[in-house]
């Protein structure tokens, strides 16, 4: 491959561009990525990332980076999303730290080859599955949880022994630049690189050929990434947004439900992949639910959420405009609805009398707006949910376990949670991912390690016992086949099928 052209002065000027608010941000162009990818590949082929000690040291470094720069992260996320300190620490830093520590303490176990059940013919052989790193992986995070979405997969990639190129979202420019600055100070400089490629350049970056691409974002971007990956036969993990439905039953504790819902929907000013997108509320309890939600919002954010330090802002004007348009053209405002463009502020808003055809029901809601639709029973709710694309999460609130059971078994989604929201996506032991239009693949904990590994089957035989093996060689005789068929039925009863091979 010929070396890429060196950047011209014009390119360097373009590389340092300004955002609408006049703040500088760096950008990496696809050709510059070529060099970083080459360096990472050389480092991988040299075997740097294979040793357990190396991986443990890198994981430890990630934890140290988060601990030593907690204030910087809080500050950066505060500037990008007006994220309260509590949310940054809890949902971004602690989460990554937890994953890193979990990987740290389990790494030895995960790296061990797994011996598998043998069949009759392989009793004297070694049958094992060895976990191998894939090579160099690309991790592209989304802007709603910029730190978590980049670093949790990175933990998995490191644990599995890969090199990685990380692309935090360009929308959260302060956080991306912080990561761009800090990661080289803590992690190996040849194996791990941070690039700042725009969303439109990512497909070109993918076509440079990685061994795995991990992408979080919205469906359109996910589609472009999937197609670029297909052109280079690159396996992908896609965590894509969608409309997460939430059914509230007539039999439930409204106060608690409202509290949990309000927290889930309005944290990070509604900019979350896993928050309940819309509510399907049983007609009997709708009025009470809306009232309870209003009370909770008052409790959480006070009479003027703009003054509250616990409430966030939209990440940029594009998302702000999109959410505001949806808000103004859908349903009726039951609470909130105030917007202030200069601050990218949208008040926590509840919409009622929302019709299925309203704009807010046609796209994902990435803002603090909660549409409440009415249904007469869980059948209608299930039918409604199944008409849409499969979402990342389905939620159901009810005291009746039969209702919960029906919601769970008659719908499909990446994950399911009853009587609460979001928590299932934070647990280290549960695989988090989508299905259908909400994505493919999963991660968290052991699943991150598996996503970035290749499970190589190894069957190690000896060259003795040829007297048994001879049965399989030509010339094929019916007698031999009968013997093998008989032996096959023997082992079918005990272990699994076998061929005396």
């Amino acid at each position: 491959m010929s070396t890429p052209p060196s950047p011209s002065p014009a390119r360097w000027f373009r590389a340092l561009r300004r955002t609408r608010l006049g703040e500088p941000c760096l950008k990496t162009y696809p050709l510059e990525c070529v060099d970083l990818l080459r360096r990472a590949r050389v480092a991988f082929q040299a075997g740097r990332t294979l040793k357990e000690n190396f991986r443990l040291a890198q994981l430890e470094a990630v934890v140290r980076m988060l601990e030593e720069h907690e204030c910087d992260f809080v500050d950066a996320l505060g500037r990008d999303l007006h994220k309260p300190r509590f949310e940054t620490v809890m949902s971004e830093l602690l989460l990554v730290k937890n994953e890193a520590l979990y990987a740290f303490s389990n790494l030895k176990k995960w790296m061990q080859p797994q011996h598998v059940e043998r069949n009759l013919s392989t009793t004297l052989d070694e049958c094992l599955v060895v976990n191998e790193p894939l090579g160099v992986v690309l991790i592209a995070g989304t802007w709603s949880s910029p730190v978590q979405m980049c670093l949790v997969p990175l933990v998995g990639a490191i644990a599995a022994g890969n090199c990685a190129i990380i692309n935090p979202s360009e929308c959260t420019s302060h956080t991306s630049e912080l990561l761009h600055r800090l990661i080289p100070l803590y992690l190996d400089n040849e194996c791990f690189h941070v690039i700042l490629a725009g969303a439109s350049d990512l497909p070109e970056v993918v076509e440079l050929k990685f061994d795995h691409v991990f992408f979080t974002g919205n469906r359109e971007e996910g589609n472009r990434i999937a197609q670029a990956a297909a052109r280079t036969l690159t396996p992908v993990t896609l965590i894509l947004g969608g409309k997460n439905p939430c059914y509230v039953d007539c039999q439930c504790d409204i106060a608690t439900t409202a509290q949990r819902l309000a927290w889930a929907r309005f944290h990070n000013a509604g900019q979350s992949l896993v928050a309940p997108d819309y509510i399907l509320c049983h007609a009997d309890v709708k009025a009470r639910l809306v009232q309870a939600l209003k009370c909770c919002l008052m409790q959480f954010y006070g009479p003027d959420p703009r003054e509250s330090r616990s409430f966030g802002r939209m990440v940029n004007l594009e998302i702000f405009n999109r959410t505001r348009d949806m808000l103004w053209r859908s349903g009726k405002v039951a609470m909130g609805g105030q917007v202030i463009e200069a601050e990218k502020y949208i008040a926590p808003t509840i919409l009622t009398d929302v019709a299925e055809s309203d704009p807010i029901m046609q796209q994902d809601v990435f803002g603090p707006v909660l549409p409440v639709l009415t249904v007469n029973n869980e059948d209608e709710a299930i039918a409604f949910i199944n008409k849409q694309e499969k979402p990342l999460c389905v939620y159901a609130y009810s005291n009746n376990s039969k209702v919960i059971s029906r919601l769970m078994s008659e719908t499909s989604s990446g994950s399911f949670c009853s009587n609460d929201s979001i928590l299932q996506s934070l647990m280290v032991a549960l695989p988090f991912g989508g299905v259908g239009a909400s994505g493919t693949g999963s991660y968290h904990g052991r699943y991150s390690f598996d996503t970035f590994s290749h499970r190589k089957s190894c069957l190690l035989r000896g060259t003795r016992f040829e007297c048994v093996t001879y049965l399989r060689y030509p010339p094929y005789e019916d007698r031999n086949l009968s013997l093998m068929t008989w032996a096959s039925t023997l082992s079918q009863k005990s272990q699994g099928w076998c061929q005396i091979l």
Partner: protein, 500 residues
């Protein structure tokens, strides 16, 4: 509506009725499939004979015996595979129910290959049925008689709406790919694999690709060469070399090359007699295009054994015969080393030792299988650690395919995803995380709600710990402690709220 659109729409409608989901249905369908192989053995063998000239015993050995085993395994283990799988809990979810529930994906498209048509088309189907999906089966059009046999026989035994068979060539496959599926399972080559993945990407459909590659075979000088060569010869010339995991080429030191050639020649004679052309156990190249492709590879290499070929022999009604061939002193630039051979040509390349062999292997794309013959465990360990491939087999060929507990699949250019046994079931299921909570114990949750205070953050840090796996008694004890702590937290936060 085209025939393909209709088949897919019908399968989807049938899936949406929910009847493929019950365990009884899945087991019934699998048992019917099993019956088909028992009752229709003759028809299946006849079709294979016409397509690939495989003997009846060969068919059973390589195609149907394996499938019958997989079906029995699936029937026996289905309840266990489909049951919710428990996970570790953390402190905050001790009183909740947490598990992973396998669910069907929906409508799966299975595109088969022609080299082992039954094995590679029906094995994913077993996984699809076991996982509760509907499946559209598209057998390879290259093996004409087998595709017809599948089209005729499958609807008699298994639900024809849920599992329709769609036959046809490239235009029919393209039409199928325009429809929307929930998973596409393809076995074949990487050129077509890319096209399939691109078509799938338009609908964000996940794929499993079982592709090929050049599977290297390293023969160490410290090994029982005669047994090694016999196994390599068996692995290579079965089905006339048309096996995705056949040893593609041999790497060995020049000092043993002559012995290797001698032993392979001996094995060929043992297996297929002096005249393989008339031997019923020796197969044929599938069609003229592949025949010409393989013949072209002979051009720039030295033939050590074999090399006879016959494009047609109408007298004996056999055609496209290529004798088992060994090529010696092959150079890496030779034509035969540029693509997967998929035929009965066995090139031998000289390497100075294990280091050069590993370097050579790593220069190429990651293969589907890697073979190493040696009596030295250190050599095997180095191969396992320093190379990458879909699977690795020491001191034998092909047989790792038959171990259901080993995942079978490729990596890099040789494919993505894996199957066999439980892995088929998992590959064609969605493993959905489920967290079942109660609307009680709200006190514990209060620390996460705004307004956020530093005190709440402190408590939250304490509770986000690593997972704890306690026994029942420990769990109860911890729950009691938690309740007390939660009460304290509530008190503290209330008082804090009042002060503000």
């Amino acid at each position: 509506m085209s025939k393909e659109q209709q088949a897919v729409a019908c399968a989807r409608r049938a899936f949406e009725t929910g009847r493929s989901k019950s365990l009884e249905h899945r087991i019934r369908q699998l048992k019917n499939l099993q019956r088909m192989f028992t009752e229709r053995q003759k028809e299946i063998a006849d079709a294979i004979k016409k397509d690939l000239n495989k003997s009846e015993v060969g068919t059973q050995l390589y195609e149907t015996l394996g499938l019958e085993g997989e079906i029995s395994l699936a029937i026996r283990k289905l309840k266990e595979w489909a049951a919710p799988r428990s996970v570790e809990k953390n402190l905050l979810t001790l009183s909740d129910t947490v598990y992973i529930k396998p669910e069907p994906l929906g409508v799966v498209l299975i595109i088969g290959a022609w080299n082992y048509p039954w094995a590679v088309t029906i094995q994913p189907l077993i996984g699809a049925i076991a996982a509760g999906n509907a499946a559209v089966i598209k057998p390879s059009e290259v093996c004409v008689h087998t595709a017809k046999a599948m089209e005729d026989l499958l609807p008699i035994y298994i639900d024809k709406e849920l599992y329709p068979v769609v036959t046809g060539g490239v235009p029919e496959t393209q039409e199928l790919l325009r429809q929307r599926f929930d998973h596409i399972f393809y076995t074949g080559n990487s050129v077509v694999g890319k096209l399939i993945m691109e078509a799938a990407a338009k609908n964000l459909t996940p794929v499993t690709l079982e592709l090929g590659g050049k599977s290297p075979c390293y023969i160490d000088k410290n090994c029982d060469i005669s047994i090694a060569c016999r196994r390599v010869a068996w692995g290579k010339y079965t089905n006339c070399g048309q096996t995705c995991i056949a040893p593609d080429y041999i790497l060995c030191e020049p000092s043993i090359q002559d012995r290797v050639i001698e032993e392979i020649k001996k094995s060929i004679k043992e297996f297929y007699t002096d005249n393989p052309k008339t031997c019923t156990d020796y197969g044929r190249i599938i069609n003229q295009r592949h025949f010409k492709r393989i013949m072209a590879m002979l051009e720039d290499s030295t033939i050590a054994v074999g090399g006879e070929n016959d494009e047609s022999d109408s007298f004996l009604c056999f055609s496209l015969f290529t004798s088992p061939t060994v090529l010696r002193d092959v150079k890496p630039e030779a034509k035969v080393m540029q693509e997967e051979i998929f035929g009965p040509l066995l090139p031998i390349l000289s390497v100075s030792g294990l280091d050069e062999a590993i370097k050579f292997i790593n220069k190429g794309e990651k293969p589907l299988a890697l073979y190493v013959f040696t009596s030295d465990d250190k050599v095997i360990k180095r191969m396992v650690d320093e190379t990458s491939s879909g699977g690795l087999l020491a001191n034998d060929c092909l047989v790792h395919y038959s171990v259901s507990s080993l995942p079978f699949g490729g990596v890099g250019n040789s494919g993505m995803g894996c199957y066999h046994g439980k892995f088929s079931f998992d590959q064609l299921s969605h493993l959905r995380s489920c967290l079942i909570k109660q609307l009680k114990m709200e006190g514990v949750n209060s620390m996460r709600y705004p307004p956020h205070t530093p005190k709440k953050l402190g408590w939250a840090r304490f509770f986000i710990l690593k997972t704890v796996d306690l026994g029942w008694v420990g769990r109860m004890a911890l729950l009691a402690v938690l309740a007390v702590v939660a009460a304290v937290v509530l008190q503290v936060s209330h008082r804090g709220g009042e002060e503000c």
